[in-house]
């Protein structure tokens, strides 16, 4: 398998405050990689750097073999980086159908295929996003990212703040996506679910990659040491 996404000793800063001190990351085509670490250790900053929303201070960033370290963010996204960001998830004043249409690019992922994955969205097409439940908004955010037909789907805390039953639904969808061979970079707090879905894991601590291996090799000691679980 060739590397789809590669970060080598990436450093980045928010203004004068350095946030990443050396991130190494490698994600192969068709692989699900869990990016883990305690709160404030640099996971979302790493994602923002990958998405080119935060400039690189040093190191190398490649996607599909291409150096994207200097690309403007919209161009990086067009190369096939599909982000489901953390926080408020959708364009609130737009309807579900409009949220889907706004980002759609031609490819295998069509609206019909999306509605197979999230049938509930089909019943809400005419509603504005602000009237959806948290879980439905998250499904819509994932659907929107998929409709850009990305080569890599990045899920940043996709199940945060959702009810357990809705979380289970989102995880089922993520497993279904893995079953379809989609490359995924996933950030989440649930180690149990990550163990079930991820092929590999990378752990960041204080802006550095400190552990990287197959998920099956993540033992309880390591998890306790870096993740506090």
């Amino acid at each position: 398998m060739s590397a789809l996404l590669e970060l080598e000793q990436v450093t980045a800063a928010y203004g004068p405050v350095q946030a990443l001190f050396g991130i190494d990351l490698s994600l192969a085509e068709g692989e699900v990689l869990a990016l883990m670490g305690r709160n404030g250790m640099g996971k979302t900053t790493t994602v923002r750097t990958i998405m080119r929303m935060l400039p690189l201070n040093g190191g190398a960033l490649r996607f599909g073999g291409r150096d994207i370290a200097r690309l403007p963010p919209h161009r990086a996204a067009r190369l096939g980086l599909g982000l489901v960001p953390e926080g408020r998830r959708c364009f609130q004043p737009l309807t579900v159908a409009e949220n889907l249409a706004v980002a759609a690019r031609p490819g295998d992922w069509t609206e019909a295929r999306i509605l197979d994955l999230f049938p509930r969205l089909g019943e809400r097409m005419g509603q504005t996003a602000r009237t959806l439940s948290g879980g439905e908004q998250q499904m819509l955010a994932i659907a929107r990212a998929l409709l850009t037909n990305p080569r890599l789907l990045i899920l940043d805390e996709a199940t945060e703040g959702l009810a357990p039953v809705v979380r289970a639904e989102i995880w089922a969808a993520i497993r279904a996506l893995k079953g379809q061979g989609i490359s995924i970079l996933v950030i989440d707090k649930s180690l149990k679910e990550l163990r079930a879905v991820a092929d590999r894991a990378e752990i960041v601590e204080r802006g550095r990659t400190v552990w990287s291996d197959r998920m099956a090799r993540l033992d309880d000691d390591t998890a306790h040491r870096y993740l506090g679980v």
């Binding site: 963010p73 919209h74 996204a77 408020r88 364009f91 004043p93 706004v102 980002a103 690019r105």
Partner: protein, 326 residues
């Protein structure tokens, strides 16, 4: 704005046409002229709304495009009247008194100005954007004031209204029909545009720029396109306003005018298709009814504006439709 909400928009347009027709039939040409002003100011507001309501671009310089459209009309018409060329370099360009020939020039000039002003202003956001657009418009205002060839501070008159094929443009209702048609066609085009992927992305970028970028869309290009189209619509409104008065002056380019266009939009409802028409109608009606009573009628307008902003952010249309989308 959704097609399910097309009815209130159509209703406002139809009401405006009805007022003009009834006034004409009952022998009140002055009311027809007021309705024409509403159509023209409404058109300018529909233009600004494209940038302000859908794109979130608070332009305080749309008088620049309104005034340019007006000056293009007056300059071409005055040269046509004196049979002198407008320019001889790089080619000889004569004036014209045909509206259908004037409008494309007005659209082109205001569009080019919006392209330049937008490309520079859109590098800033928030209050800086407001100030930069204002500064550009004021530059054009002072240029017009100090340009004696076209009247300078006194403005420029042309004595015969420009002509339109098959229409008697001296009949108030016929000139109103031309302005209303321009407004109606523009409203349909804006409705289609805001429903298109471009329009959706523009509205999405207003809500969350980073998320739109993450979808692979560049907000700058979206906003510049919206700003240019918005300026062109304001330019067309300016061309019609010049023909209504057969006169242009630097006042059309001043910040008062920019403010008035913004008032039409806010009063009627930001991001509501027919909102600016409702806003312009209320503005003109207040001016007509209260103007003769007191010179300070705008104080009441100010009060109304404050009440709308505080208690009905959706404007008059939002108030009338409560919870529904117009």
């Amino acid at each position: 704005m959704r097609f399910t909400g097309a009815l209130p928009n159509a209703a406002i347009f139809v009401a405006l046409v009805a007022v003009a027709v009834v006034a004409d039939r009952s022998g009140n040409p002055y009311i027809v002229t007021l309705a024409t002003k509403v159509a023209i100011f409404g058109l300018a507001g529909v233009g600004l709304n494209l940038a302000l309501g859908y794109g979130g671009l608070v332009s305080f310089g749309h008088a620049a495009f309104f005034g340019l459209g007006g000056y293009v009309t007056a300059i071409l018409a005055s040269h046509a009247a004196s049979a002198t060329p407008v320019a001889t370099v790089p080619f000889t360009m004569m004036g014209t008194n045909e509206m259908l020939a004037i409008w494309p020039v007005a659209l082109l000039v205001s569009g080019l100005a919006a392209l330049v002003i937008g490309a520079l202003s859109l590098r800033t956001t928030g209050v800086y954007f407001i100030m930069v657009t204002l500064a550009f418009a004021q530059m054009l205002y002072y240029f017009a004031v100090s340009w004696p060839a076209y009247g300078g501070e006194d403005g420029l008159s042309f004595y015969v209204r420009n002509s339109f094929p098959g229409a008697n443009i001296f009949a108030p209702l016929q000139f109103f029909a031309i302005c209303a048609a321009a407004l109606g066609v523009t409203m349909i085009l804006v409705a289609l545009l805001t429903q298109s992927r471009f329009g959706l992305a523009l509205r999405a970028a207003k809500q969350n720029e980073a998320r739109v970028i993450a979808s692979g869309v560049r907000p700058f290009a979206l906003r510049l396109t919206a700003f240019v189209l918005s300026g062109m619509v304001a330019g067309l409104a300016g061309a019609l306003f010049a023909d209504l008065n057969r006169f242009v002056s630097p006042a059309m380019l001043s910040w008062h005018m920019s403010g008035e266009i913004m008032v039409f939009v806010i009063l009627g409802g930001v991001g509501r298709l027919a909102g600016p028409i409702a806003g312009a109608a209320v503005f003109i009606a207040l001016e007509y009814l209260l103007g003769p009573v007191s010179d300070h009628w705008q104080a009441l307008l100010g009060l109304l504006l404050i009440l709308i902003v505080l208690f009905a952010p959706g404007g008059l249309m939002g108030l009338a439709l409560r919870g529904r989308h117009g």
